[in-house]
Subunit: 600 residues, 2 copies
């Protein structure tokens, strides 16, 4: 019953009119991304996921993954065939380097496609998503030998990848890892230990699974400084590239969880499995962070992707379902009731969702662009700026973006009334699926701490100052245009709240680290409000600028302007109370002892 259409028109508007991809055409990273190719990727990719993957989303949730007695895992009906089509269509290779069989497309383009992929089927999207992260880690830190051995088949998607960090006793605090890696005479290691919550850890869709595993070598410090990263294939790979014998890693069980049932979340038991060091010994955390940062942007996209598909369905329901009358008098007097769409509170939920989704989409695409520019911008200064922005925005896109995903999914479920709670309508699945994105790849609280504890302070606050400069500059420019001045004024106020909060953090966070910790979450949210506010300023500017053009989609552009006004009226003012929360400090948060929280 649910539906999905890739929002290609909006993606194109952002890429072409807001970001103006053609401005970067001369950079090597964008050589493959001509407008024709980008449009083909969006159109065909959108069609592929809507036709092949979306129909498996609900059945995948209902069936879930099944661990068989021999430890193998069967994915839901149709997943295996759809994955084959996905690989054959080359969709896995979009952003990967040509050297290993990739299409070398810039991040901004693969980001656009991945949003669609997630909307269509988040549980499915995680299989290639984790592979992509593993590829990134091997690319950045693997030896040439390891790269040549594993990357071609991972880039093509014939083999999938995983990230193995968590153990029963350790999640966020990776220093507590117990998995051991014993060096062998042949240069390999024997890996022994138990990993939990391993997404896509075992399944029947690919010929091999390449696990990237954090473990400790003998004598390594018992802290995060003693961690090394290993590649551990499910099947050993012979020198000729063919599949060899089964390695000592097996799926002990799969978790029963709230959502993403189509993805196998495994307990993996390593029992003297053969592994090879990736990068340097005891530098595993840094290597894993490459993977995690890519993954965090990908998880932020999950917030966006789920929000979009939930929204599309809520819109349809609001137009189909008739209940009650418009407050201003019957809209459709010939019918027994008007559509839900006439009710201001239903419209509030739809407008809120629309404004957050389109703003978040622009932010994710802009984030993708910064990743590209951080590698390939023309000069060092521009590369540094882009790298600073990626660092600053990653925890915001992940943390704030996934909070929005859950909020939008919940609101869109609310539009359905009682039917929203019933499985067959599909909306409750979106809420359950969206929920995990706030938790994994570092909880959103961890993202907030990353933002406030690391990213703000890095290099003397260079990143946040650059961000402020950019926002303030664009506000000043917009204020000259009477059609944008009101929006710019409201964004300026929000920016002022964020700047004041940053000052407050600078003044208090060092003296009392708990003040920084207590302020982190509202600060992250405020940064999200301002960053998406900047996106809306840009979208409004672009829409205003395009209105007179030949062949302009006037209705679409006017809709952008209305939605920007909604953002300015109803969302930007939220920074005021977030600032009050930041400035409240940590006293009342940290005052109580554990006993004070007991019921009796």
């Amino acid at each position: 019953m649910p539906r999905y259409t890739a929002p290609v028109r909006d993606t194109r508007f952002i890429i072409e009119k807001v970001i103006g991809l053609d401005r970067y055409a001369e950079l090597p990273a964008f050589a493959t991304a001509s407008p024709e190719i980008v449009n083909a990727v969006l159109d065909e990719g959108g069609k592929f996921v809507a036709e092949q993957l979306f129909p498996l989303n609900q059945s995948g949730d209902q069936q879930g993954c099944k661990r068989n007695d021999d430890g193998s895992v069967t994915t839901p009906e149709g997943f295996k065939e759809a994955y084959k089509a996905f690989v054959e269509g080359g969709w896995m290779t979009l952003g990967a380097p040509e050297e290993f069989g990739g299409q070398n497309m810039p991040h901004i383009v693969s980001t656009a496609f991945e949003e669609y992929l997630i909307s269509a089927n988040m549980a499915f999207a995680m299989y290639p998503g984790l592979t992509k992260g593993a590829v990134a880690a091997l690319l950045a830190h693997g030896s040439q030998e390891l790269k040549e051995k594993y990357l071609p088949k991972m880039v093509s998607g014939e083999w999938t990848g995983t990230m193995n960090l968590t153990e029963p006793q350790c999640g966020t605090d990776l220093g507590l890892i117990k998995t051991k890696a014993e060096p062998q005479a042949d240069g390999s290691y024997e890996i022994t230990g138990t990993k939990i919550f391993i997404s896509a850890g075992e399944h029947d869709m690919a010929d091999n699974i390449i696990h990237l595993v954090l473990a400790k070598t003998p004598g390594a410090p018992d802290s995060s400084k003693g961690i090394s990263l290993f590649v551990v294939p499910k099947f050993l790979v012979n020198d000729d590239g063919s599949i060899g014998e089964r390695n000592g890693v097996s799926c002990g069980s799969i978790e029963h969880k709230m959502g993403i049932h189509g993805n196998a979340t495994c307990v993996l038991n390593y029992d003297g499995a053969k592994g090879w060091l990736v990068g340097e010994e005891m530098k595993g955390l840094a290597a894993m962070f490459v993977m995690m940062n890519a993954a965090r942007l990908g998880v932020g996209l999950q917030g966006l992707g789920i929000a979009e598909v939930a929204f599309q369905n809520a819109v349809q329901y609001a137009n189909d379902r008739r209940q009650g009358r418009a407050l201003t008098g019957p809209k459709d007097p010939e019918e027994k009731a008007d559509t839900l769409f006439v009710h201001p509170d239903v419209r509030r939920m739809l407008m809120e969702s629309k404004a957050q989704i389109e703003g978040l989409r622009a932010l994710c695409l802009w984030g993708g662009l910064q990743v590209d520019l951080s590698h390939d911008a023309g000069d060092e200064e521009a590369r540094e700026l882009a790298d600073d922005l990626v660092g600053l925005l990653t925890p915001v896109i992940k943390g704030y973006g996934t909070d929005l995903g859950y909020k939008v999914a919940t609101d869109c479920q609310q539009v359905y009334g009682g039917h929203g709670y019933i499985a067959e309508w599909g909306m409750e699945q979106y809420v359950r699926d969206a929920r995990i994105a706030m938790i994994y790849e570092g909880t959103n609280g961890v993202q907030a701490m990353d933002l406030v504890g690391r990213k703000l302070a890095r290099k003397g606050g260079r990143a946040v100052q650059a961000f402020f400069k950019q926002v303030a500059g664009e506000i000043a420019e917009a204020k000259k245009d009477e059609k944008l001045a009101e929006f710019a004024g409201k964004l300026e106020k929000a920016l002022g709240d964020m700047q004041a909060s940053t000052m407050w953090l600078a003044a208090n966070g060092m003296k009392n680290p708990n003040d920084a910790g207590a302020a982190a979450y509202p600060f992250m949210e405020m940064t999200g409000v301002v960053a998406i506010g900047l996106m809306w300023l840009r979208m409004a500017t672009a829409a205003q600028g395009s209105l007179g053009e030949d062949g302009a989609d006037t209705k679409f552009l006017e809709t952008k302007l209305v939605t920007a006004r909604y953002y300015a009226d109803r969302i930007l003012p939220r920074t005021a109370s977030l600032r009050a929360q930041v400035e409240a400090g940590s006293d009342s948060i940290m005052a109580l002892e554990p006993e004070a929280f007991e019921a009796a």
Copy 2:
């Protein structure tokens, strides 16, 4: 693995110190509620639900209800036996009138107990909860004959009750009801139609189920003005009170839903079932509203109950789980890591939950008190004031209270990190269960419209003015006490936002009803923030006043004061941005046509 202890200490503090139940001892409604009896109810009731019902909560979710081929429904293992114990313990009869076998306890006491019942097992609590609503409707509108026939066994709990409003084509808009009631020669009616989403609609726990059903008599207007209310027993009841033949109502299917799996949500088919009119013909909606208003307060309690049990578990996990180090240096250097409890962002979630839960508990109990006073206060003026406050607060307790329940459950799940997403830990169930409370008994958007569209304007705004007067009076009093002045000042600011928003609504809502509709939700939230703020002012005042007393629980009282400070620092300031949302009007919300929401 989850745990639950009834928070009797906090309930007693509110009843004894904040509300001061002894002040009402002379009123007939409170004759049965001596401190000894109230404490016995809380202690024994808390123990009963924790020991008998809580252990069935998780298994009930996992097993769910099953419809058998003959249309009967089997509840999860243990439910039937537990329900028998519940009835035998007399827990059903607490608030019911003595005339029909009840204990005549005031609402405030049954409210306190029902919170515990919900915390222990929300799906179970719905069976007696719906019975209670059906009892209320029969008491208010049933003939003496109907009362005598049905009430004794419903009050005891031997028979359960249901509310039958929704049909496939009609939820909020009851005017669309199609179910027909044909009058018969013997004074009964034949009821024919399909009802959906009927909670506790069919099950194996009671000898009979008494359905209260909305239907239309021949020739009745095809609108909400044509609706009548009927009582339709599952089994006809003979004149001697014994169970007679099966009536023509059957369960067609049970819904697969997001949560509350232990409660059977049924499609009920009425096929010429025998029913009897409750109250007057075509006055069914008014009669049903008695039931719905009671039910709405009960649903608000579901927000509280789920929040409390989720919170207790998050506290335990935060104390048990070790991960990372305190920002201010290791707290437990002898351990490999500190507990989650040391992290300010974890503490933020716990403090936020604590402040909202305890405030909401006070509000629910105060609401229960107002229900009592609306019937039994000494003079007409006091009864009217209480009735006004019940009217004003009911949509807030339901709408804002259940939003808080979902938010707290989500935050407490978040404390668990990855384990929060795994079914066996129990936290994800709380989120799924909490979600329905925002939807049923009128969605929270409907509550907001009820508040703004009906309750604000009623009798020239008398209720909200009385509320303002009460809050302002207590602020003025508190400002004289230097220990309370800061809190009072912040509450005053929040009250000012609410007053300004009310003025804005008065000035704009009549001219443009869509402005009222667009403002309704943030206005409801703001009212919730202020109402719970008033509760915290009272709790802080009571705590301050009790600190010096003999035998005072000093730690508990000091904890109250810290939590009040948290509320003032971090929650009260939220009214500023809610006010901005109210005052933004409806222009940007209502400007777009349906087409503007389409993806392509």
